[in-house]
Amino acid sequence: MSKPTRITNSIRALRFARGEMTQAELAQRIGVTRQTIIAIEQGRYSPSLEVAFQIARVFKIPLDEVFQYPDGESR
């Protein structure tokens, strides 16, 4: 199954690097459901810019250290 977005992210690794933060805890901190965090981690949902910034703020790192977009032509 092809992923609907080319955006990748490091949320899973970042959660584990931050004392194994749970998906539920991250979801609660940015005001979304746990299922949305799962969908973002699996690349099934591209979050809005606002949610992306909120996630980066939780980890206290710049946005492009959380989300990556591959070089090359866009679709």
Binding site: T33, Q35, T36, R44, P47
Partner: protein, 139 residues
């Protein structure tokens, strides 16, 4: 599965189920009565009403059996909902357009009412199905 996704499943099942019941009753009547004389209005209203009530009860039951973390929708739920409504709106448009043409052609009220009801049902069923695909496969 999120609260809104479970609700979408319930809505899909109750919408399709209510229409199946309506169709079974009406087809039973059409067998021995001319279409123009078939009494459909009460059945249509009752099945549409029952669908709404069943949807509320079904959602409550699902939450009792399998409680969600939260009952509040979020930005993804809104995006999924918008996608489903947008992509399925053509069924509603087609139903209304067909009814308009049928009214201008002076087709019997039975058919006009039924094509509008069918449009609503297809809109609800297709919209729910598309939302579930979006929840499962992504947006």
């Amino acid at each position: 599965m999120s609260y809104e996704e479970k609700g979408t499943w319930v809505y899909l099942v109750t919408s399709a189920g209510a229409y199946a019941v309506y169709l079974a009753i009406i087809l039973g009547r059409v067998a021995d009565t001319p279409v123009a004389d078939v009494s459909y209005a009460a059945v249509l209203l009752w099945t549409a009403g029952a669908s709404i009530v069943a949807s509320i009860i079904g959602r409550t039951l699902v939450e009792t059996v399998s409680p969600s973390d939260s009952r509040r929708g979020d930005v993804r739920d809104r995006d999924v909902s918008r996608f489903g409504e947008y992509a399925s709106r053509w069924f509603l448009v087609a139903g209304a357009a067909a009814a308009l043409v049928m009214a201008m052609a002076k087709v019997d009220y039975f058919w006009i009412a039924n094509v509008i009801y069918l449009g609503f049902v297809l809109w609800a069923v297709a919209g729910s199905a598309l939302k579930l695909v979006a929840y499962r496969r992504g947006l």
